[in-house]
């Protein structure tokens, strides 16, 4: 058992909730942060009952970057592990034509996640301990016609996490980059996804929990993705630009 609290940012998604369950099961108190946090009270009660642990709710808006410092100061205690599961896929076609839609996608996947982790990183650094986990995406490994607005924001987030890890490596603070691949969640409910490449949210949760303990740097939840993305990253641009993938 442990009393080190775990903060989940963007706690409403299936993946985030599965991660909350996993850490609660390991005995951690949980801080769930999301917009309109009170609407997560059923989830709070469920997690608290199942694992006999404390679960608190905190209003958090990933687009309201000015509120971040106050948000972190307002937490009951500085978490030991902070996991950023904020993300918004949007519709690529909208993102191409509607600049405000594209702005929201770029800010939700890059600006917000990067800045809140910055805020936490500085405090973790001062304390000299902690784990920061960023849920990024394989979509950030190479821009593709079908989702490059989302993908480029994730690419930015992945680069940010890499830099942050580099900066904090000697300060006792560890940074994990998670590239989940396809996950069977509400976001992908209506898509036809290949079973071998699709993880359950609980699988992602196990992987994140494991990585936070063993201090892995970059994890692909299903190993096959590492190979697929290696191939995709290495296709020459002259060929890649004509491909439909």
């Amino acid at each position: 058992m442990t009393v080190r609290p775990v903060l989940i940012l963007g706690a409403r998604s299936d993946m985030a909730l599965a991660i909350a369950h996993r850490f609660a099961k390991a005995g951690h108190p949980i801080q769930l942060a999301a917009r309109d946090a009170q609407s997560l009270s059923a989830e709070r009660d469920d997690i608290a009952l199942r694992y006999s642990t404390e679960v608190s709710l905190h209003d958090f808006d990933a687009l309201d970057t000015g509120s971040f410092a106050g948000f972190v100061d307002g937490l009951p205690s500085l978490p030991h592990v902070a996991i950023c599961a904020v993300g918004l896929m949007g519709e690529q076609s909208d993102n191409e034509t509607d600049m405000s839609a594209a702005t929201t996608v770029l800010r939700s996947n890059f600006e917000g996640p990067a800045l809140i982790l910055s805020e936490l990183a500085n405090r973790f650094e001062a304390r000299g301990s902690g784990v920061l986990v960023g849920i990024s995406s394989v979509a950030g490994d190479r821009g593709r016609a079908t989702n490059y607005v989302y993908g480029s924001a994730k690419a930015g987030f992945t680069a940010f996490l890499s830099g942050l890890r580099n900066r904090l490596a000697r300060e006792g603070v560890h940074v994990v980059t998670v590239l989940p691949g396809f996950v069977a969640t509400k976001m992908t409910e209506d898509m036809e996804l290949p079973a071998k490449l699709t993880a359950a949210p609980e699988e992602v949760a196990d992987a994140v929990h494991r990585a936070s303990i063993t201090r892995q740097n970059v994890i692909y939840v299903r190993g096959l993705w590492r190979i697929i993305m290696l191939v995709i990253r290495n296709i020459p641009e002259s060929l890649f630009k004509k491909m439909k993938i």
Binding site: A42, E43, D45, D46, L49, R50, Y51, S52, K186, E189
Partner: protein, 440 residues
């Protein structure tokens, strides 16, 4: 998608939705021919509707727990396994449990499941304080033994055909440890087995593994297993400090279904002989952890695949007390003569029960699996007939092949069940493949 129950037979192409909130659930119920599905552990087609299967996996939250009374309020999709892992460490266990922990609360209520303590405590329904049920009109009604008690009693054992179970309050049982004090009695034939049950009416748990293939003098030889929740004093000293920690066991898994299955007369006969012999060596008392005692098969994930791709059917009937000895003898005779039977045959004494449509009645229940083929299907029809001759009835949570006529002959309560279904458009709103087959 293709859906089946735990027995992998029959298979249906079915439309499946997994609503995330009550509004969406309401819209699905309004479409008609809906049936709620939990974790798919009913053996046959109870939780399949080709038109409108409603998967309840998103309704899986625990809502509240009263530390004094042990009353847990939870959504229907919560698993028995989750209840145990959440509350056994605090000294609470399920008051009644079926043979697997991978069932949902909603599924357990719909089948009004029984356990090894049925002769003492009755079925799960005795421990349900109330149920929130979404009816055919989409409205949610709370029913209990006091309020809307008709609906409450039809919903217990009603196989989801009264509405969609959303939430329920379940009274858990206080226990001091996670261990069971088990006593094992080998019994050489059916008469002795039944005598052993009758002599053990005070035991909290009782069940027998029965060898369905042995003939002659050894017909019905069994291992009768009695159990009590171990108290703190029952544990060896080093275990008393952490009485709920029983350790985690490695899970085995059957990775795929072989084309024809591994269960045939030879392998089962060999297994049974070995199992009985092993039981006679280990006769007497011992401590067993809760998981091995209640859920031995859960240790082998996907064990349903060992019967092959065509799947298997489980036969489970209960005979009234007065005809049990003779009836069980006839059933065993038929099974052993056919040389078909599984190593998972179970005999159990049931206690008295008054209920609208639940399975249990005072007497003896026999349950066993058969790989599905023409020969075993014919055998099961003969077993149906023997059951009818002895005034018995069948467990709908296991059934995948009975006829509507057999159900009506076995259970005069069916007529009232149909009247209830006819009322309030329930027959339009709720229909499973099983209900269609049984003309319910």
């Amino acid at each position: 998608m293709t859906l089946s129950g735990w027995g992998l037979f029959p298979k249906h192409a079915a439309r499946v939705s997994a609503p995330r909130n009550e509004d969406r659930l309401q819209a699905l119920v309004a479409e008609g021919d809906g049936i709620a599905r939990g974790n798919g552990r009913a053996y046959g087609d109870s939780a399949i509707s080709t038109e409108n299967t409603i998967h309840m996996r998103h309704f899986n939250r625990m809502i509240s727990f009263n530390e004094k009374t042990g009353v847990l309020v939870a959504e229907a999709g919560v698993l028995a396994a989750d209840i145990i892992s959440g509350f056994l460490p605090r000294g609470w266990f399920l008051p009644v449990t079926p043979g697997t922990k991978f069932v949902t609360l909603g599924g357990m209520i719909a089948a009004d499941v029984h356990g090894k303590n049925h002769h003492v405590d009755g079925s799960l329904g005795n421990f349900i304080d109330w149920i929130d049920l979404m009816g055919a009109d989409g409205k949610i009604i709370r029913c209990s033994p006091r309020k809307n008690k008709e609906l409450f009693s039809w919903t217990l054992g009603g196989m989801g055909l009264t509405g969609v179970i959303l939430r329920a309050a379940l009274r858990l049982r206080a226990v001091e440890t996670g261990w069971i004090r088990q006593t094992l009695h080998p019994t050489p034939d059916l008469e002795t087995t039944i005598d052993a049950f009758e002599a053990a009416q005070d035991a909290t748990y009782s069940v027998a593994w029965i060898d369905c293939l042995s003939k002659g003098a050894g017909r019905g030889r069994s291992l009768v297993m009695l159990g009590e929740h171990a108290t703190l004093e029952d544990l060896p000293k080093p275990r008393r400090r952490k009485p709920f920690e029983t350790g985690t066991k490695r899970k085995l898994s059957v990775p795929f279904a072989p084309p024809t299955g591994l269960m045939n007369g030879w392998t089962v006969r060999a297994f049974n002989a070995l199992y009985y012999w092993n039981g006679t060596r280990n006769a007497g008392e011992g401590l067993v952890d809760w998981d091995s005692y209640f859920y031995p098969l859960d240790a082998i994930l996907n064990w349903n695949r060992i019967y092959g791709r065509r799947g298997f059917a489980q036969f489970q009937c209960v005979l009234p007390l007065e005809s049990s000895r003779q009836g069980m003898h006839r059933l065993l005779e038929e099974i052993s003569n056919a040389g078909a039977g599984s190593f998972l045959a179970v005999l159990k004494r049931m206690g008295a029960q008054e209920s609208r449509f639940s399975f249990p009645m005072e007497g003896y229940t026999l349950a066993l699996d058969f790989p599905v083929n023409r020969r075993t299907l014919a055998l099961m029809t003969r077993l149906d007939e023997i059951t009818l001759e002895h005034g018995g009835r069948f467990y709908l949570a296991k059934d995948s092949r009975m006829t509507a006529e057999t159900l009506r002959h076995s259970d005069p309560r069916t007529e009232d069940f149909l009247k209830m279904r006819d009322d309030k458009q329930r027959q339009v709103a709720f229909m499973s493949a099983q209900a269609r087959r049984l003309a319910l």
